[in-house]
Symmetry: C2
Subunit: 376 residues, 2 copies
């Protein structure tokens, strides 16, 4: 993988949020409320209407306490023996973080745990103006199924999460298209279901008749079980084998799929977008719909056989967060999509407003992408 | 709930492991290996052949580091700036723990995260002589499905985990019995699937023809969403309503169950065992098989209408870990089972060797209980 892209992922992951400005020198607005990402019964972290996050950590004997969000306030010890500190205003949505206690990088014991940045650790959810689209509502719910499938190429039983849409079990004669959906670097197969809110997004879209019901399959996008890998030396071939030769046949034989190319899509975020581009371009007879979220784009120069591509492809969807768009080092994604459209390909370009290389961009990307899939 | 039982749960939860003895004054055996419960790529915690656990935590500026296992060694700072310490020999199996850094109680960043002791936090898995029965093997796998069902009585969409056995989707005309399986106090609906290894245990039993395939349903055993509750003031009625009036009808209408009393079981561990006793005795027309793991027992004095009980009940299974058995304050469970047997009830008493009030006892209890269920 392109080292510049590696760097881009790291830079944008760290830089999410508005740039440092006047606001952080002001006193925070005192309308703090517990974050929805807190552990049961925990008051802290709290979020306020500016998008700041305030932490409380009981560490009576600590010399120094901090948090991984840059430009945060100093932490000070309260009269209760606990330490308090708060962030600059952050983007709406979901952010990983780590506490630092006297030099130890530890999860915040008050936060639910998510896998990102190569570890199960803390994260905070900030309310968003459009959060209703990924809220758990009183609508018919699909199921998120944890499945293990045998992989000969890796000699392992591999975990997949499979979203089956509402009604899947009640309509035993119906068959469904399938989207294969990949996480980013440092994340794993839990990401789209947990921080990505895939089930909630799809349940809500389907309840509003905005998306056709389809199956979504999520697996770990690398094959290095015992050690998280770097991107620089990443060889996609073993993962491609697992996905195309092992997982797809397993899903097609264990779920009521429509097991044909027109009914199969692949999408991914960041590294998962790069994987999607590489794998779909090499397997045009397997996938008809392509989604690349914050992970580069497909230009005409990437397509070696344009007539074959046009014959088989139904959609090339590319998206970015508005705050990361200027950082793209893999060509101008919008221009690439325009060129595809001019060549007669169904290209769609989406920009998530006021978000960076972060889950709020990808939740919105899924919301925009899903309704475009598997149109008859 | 009986306050003595509350106390018992707390005492036994803290006391698991052999009693303090000579062994902890000896130097540990230096055959450390990474624990299977570590995060990807983490070398520590390590476990040795004595059942000790050794920790490494990078905290260069900390004044003191400790771990919640009693009788652990002092933690000392290594030349690499990291702190090291180790436990006394622990029981085989699974144990929650917390690190203490300068007075802050935090999860070990090297451990996978589990929900117990009222929080998502760290735990360690020690190899066990009989661990093959809950290992992930190359056998046909069932699915663990995350499901949300509407609950009018609580006004919430509630999470359930549903284990469907291997072949469930491939045999659309087959219907299955159902076991409702409850966690303990301070735990939640994730417990039996994660630390309990329910899927692995059932997949393996079914592959060996030791158990009939059946569905298992796991939900949170309280109705206090926003704050974990104490046991002392616990009112079981709201949970009983959710389970009996809302969950069971949902499961029977959304899964291919055999929706009759002879095909419905309830079991639970610790607090979940108490819940099982109360709810099954009040709903004899709903449940035919009863399992109580480390949570009291059923004596003849608990049964108000013996002929009715004998007519409907197929099994009363009671189990304990051998190291907690002497602590029982709810009568002699073995004598209670013997009395049931003498009265013509199918009673079974099981003692897990060399374990206490801990998951290894409950994994084994499920292994012993499942083969007794739903015999024609």
């Amino acid at each position: 993988m392109n080292p510049n892209l590696t760097l881009l992922f790291l830079i944008t992951a760290l830089a999410s949020g508005p740039s440092l400005g006047q606001s952080n020198t002001n006193a925070p607005v005192e309308d703090w409320k517990p974050a929805s990402s807190n552990q049961p019964g925990k008051e802290y972290p709290k979020v306020n209407s500016e998008g700041r996050v305030k932490f409380r950590i009981v560490a009576p004997k600590a010399q120094s306490v901090g948090v991984s969000f840059r430009d945060s306030s100093p932490f000070t010890k309260g009269e209760d023996g606990a330490w308090y500190g708060y962030t600059r205003p952050l983007d709406e949505g979901f952010h990983y973080y780590t506490l630092n206690l006297d030099g130890a990088e530890v999860p915040d014991p008050n936060s639910l745990m998510f896998f990102g940045a190569q570890r199960w650790g803390s994260a905070v959810e900030l309310p968003a103006k459009d959060q209703d689209f990924y809220a758990l509502r009183d609508v018919p719910h699909g199921q998120l199924r944890e499945v293990f499938f045998p992989s000969k190429s890796t000699g392992t039983q591999r975990r997949a999460f499979v979203y089956t849409p509402p009604g899947y079990d009640q309509n035993p004669d119906q068959r469904y298209p399938v989207l294969y959906l990949q996480h980013g670097w440092g994340e794993n197969e839990y990401g789209w279901g947990a921080q990505g809110r895939t089930r909630e997004i799809m349940d809500n879209l389907i309840a509003e008749n905005k998306s056709r019901p389809f199956i979504i399959v999520m697996i770990y996008g690398m094959t290095n079980e015992t050690r998280m890998g770097g991107l620089r030396d990443f060889d996609i071939a073993p993962f491609e084998t697992v996905l195309v030769k092992e997982l797809i046949p397993y899903i097609d034989s264990h779920f009521r799929t429509l097991p044909t190319q027109p009914n199969r899509a692949m999408a991914g975020l960041s590294m998962g977008g790069m994987e999607t581009r590489t794998i779909t371009l090499r397997n045009l007879d397997t996938f008809s719909h392509i989604g690349i979220f914050s992970g580069g784009s497909i230009g005409l120069t990437n397509i070696t056989d344009l007539p074959a591509f046009k014959a088989g492809n139904k959609l090339v969807f590319v998206s970015y967060g508005s705050r990361e768009l200027g950082n793209s080092r893999s060509g101008d994604p919008k221009a690439n999509i325009e060129a595809l459209k001019a060549a007669g390909i169904h290209g769609v370009f989406y920009v998530s407003p006021d978000t960076a290389h972060e889950w709020q961009s990808w939740r919105r990307s899924l919301r925009e992408f899903a309704p475009l899939l598997f149109k008859d």
